[in-house]
Symmetry: C2
């Protein structure tokens, strides 16, 4: 028994995947293969969702205004038979200017439900950007015309890079029309994007007024202020326009003109969340389409017919996507020998002796 005990306690380490580990993973696997794997995993998870019992708790957290304005939120999710995954996100808007830190700092942790053991904890900045892109790729693949396309991008921050990259994995992009109100951000977009094959036109902010009418697929991923939307004008769209609306993530924050939404087939990622903080805030619930995961599982014909009409994917972010992202990252990290394994938890099977057994007489090797 002592030897089995040692084996158990030695085996169950917690994998720490820091920001540098994730960056190394990205370089080793390559952005294309990583994005492809994320799209594939997400698609399979969505297709399987009927078969599992999913619990995703509503996002909850603490909001405060001292010592700094900020919030810390947790997003727990569990599928019966699978792990519990909790993403913790901090949002502190004064970080960049006052502390030279990012406003969003996030980690995701995963627990094994056979033992309760903490399997892994990882930085989730890049993972979040990639999973958000992957979800838009799924929506685009389902709802956009299956042909080379002109892509509009409004808002050229980090999400823009992974949104364009993700779409490029499911459609050939011939031309990109890119708009940001911040010239400094726009100036670095092409370098950050790193896809020399696409013809990128950096357009002035006023181009957003008519962009709906000149692209096949549009991605909005701005940080527009609450109540200050929409970020694009309403003109007659191409009849097959597909929009990935990524920026709205707060009550009162929206990016699209309501006229566009009214004529579109709107697919939310999480209906309740989209109605609270996504583009769906602008629509009566009855006029909103099925959630993306539900649509994916419906007979292919239904989705294909939507490619001939205006469609909007309303992306607010789903904890299930974070669970898929962390599981993929852990698998790839194991494959590539990345991350640090630590003995975090006390795993002696008989914890009756808090003061003496903590230090085992012989160290396991």
């Amino acid at each position: 028994m002592a030897s089995r005990d040692r084996v158990s306690a030695t085996r169950l380490t917690t994998l720490i995947l820091g920001a540098d580990d994730i960056a190394t993973l990205l370089r080793r696997v390559g952005p294309d293969a990583l994005m492809d794997a994320m799209i594939d995993r997400l698609r399979r998870r969505y297709l399987d969702l009927d078969d599992v019992e999913l619990s995703a708790r509503d996002r909850d957290g603490f909001r405060y205004d001292k010592p700094a304005l900020g919030l810390l939120e947790w997003m727990p999710t569990h599928e019966v038979g699978g792990p519990v995954v909790v993403k913790m996100v901090g949002y502190h808007p004064t970080n960049p200017v006052q502390r030279l830190l990012p406003s969003v700092i996030a980690t995701t942790s995963m627990w094994d439900t056979e033992t309760g053991h903490l399997v892994a904890i990882a930085d989730s900045t890049l993972l979040t950007a990639i999973r958000t892109g992957a979800a838009s790729a799924l929506a685009t693949d389902l709802l956009a015309p299956d042909a080379p396309l002109t892509l509009g991008v409004v808002g050229l921050g980090a999400q823009a890079v992974t949104q364009v990259h993700a779409v490029s994995r499911v459609r050939r992009i011939e031309r990109i029309v890119a708009v940001d109100t911040d010239e400094a951000v726009a100036a670095t977009f092409v370098r950050r994007l790193g896809f020399p094959e696409a013809d990128v036109e950096l357009a002035p902010p006023e181009r957003a007024l008519g962009i709906v009418g000149e692209v096949d697929v549009l991605c909005t991923c701005t940080s527009v202020d609450i109540g200050a939307g929409p970020v694009v004008g309403f003109v007659e769209p191409r009849p097959w326009l597909h929009v990935n609306a990524v920026g709205a993530d707060f009550p009162g924050k929206t990016e699209l003109p309501v006229e566009l939404l009214r004529q579109a087939f709107v697919v939310p990622d999480v209906l309740s969340q989209c109605c609270a903080e996504g583009e769906c805030q602008q629509l009566p619930t009855a006029s909103i389409g099925p959630e993306l995961a539900v649509l994916l599982r419906s007979p292919g014909a239904q989705a294909a017919t939507q490619r001939e009409r205006v469609t909007v994917y309303d992306s607010t972010g789903w904890a299930v996507q974070d669970a898929v992202a962390l599981q993929l990252a852990v698998e790839l990290a194991r494959e590539h020998g990345l991350g640090t394994d630590v003995h975090l938890e006390l795993l002696a099977p008989d914890p009756h002796d808090p003061y003496h057994r903590l230090v085992p007489p012989e160290e396991p090797t």
Copy 2:
């Protein structure tokens, strides 16, 4: 700016305190000094609670029966101006027999509310046992006679060790009457306790029937089954008896006879939680006394008069105690150079470039 940036990113590491680190901390600081510090910190936090705006979310979690029967719960707490602390507890009752692992595996994490940065994550098995003991010591010091005493202990697992130890830091214990239904657990109690100065009588299980009448302070810390309580009989108690009731932590699980509770001044740690899963389940709310933190802050005279009557501290565990425990452990670990600092989070101030800035051109040293 680049150099300030590097400084920020280098400075903000996450402290990993594994089970071995906590054990080393215990040896370096010593159990007495560690328990004294925990009692002192807890007392000061309780006394200060009026001055801060405290938010402790109700315990929430996932319960499941496959792949194994178990639950994973989170307990988030925040005081305005202070950190957010979240304890995650897994309870998997088949662990010891089927996997040679403890049934309870827990970690506690702390976030800075100025930046949203994850400051530390620690194993919390020992910390939980010590903070639970420290809270009982506070209650005992407030409510038990100020004289050398005979201590009864029913249930001789890990909690019994830290409960007796904690009481020994606020009162001189002349004699201990110790009872457990499991002979194997009872047989190791004196060794685990490690206080040669106390006269410990290992009594047979039936002694629990009359133990209420023969001790000055009683601690119940059993793992009695739901609905199977009480674990002690009702006889006329000594008029000044003080009870620390620690075992009840689930709806239907109680340890004390209702007749004893009815004549006692009952002090819960968290009223709502005690009414749901502590001894207070057996009482109408109107007959329950103030919470321990409230009582501590009331004029000293009020508490002192209770030392002459029967009192019960109903301990179900409070997230605020876990926050105090982790803050103390992190401070002591820093002082003693223990734990591992990791760069967990992506802390570049401008995260616009998810694919290229992750690997900085020069590594900070």
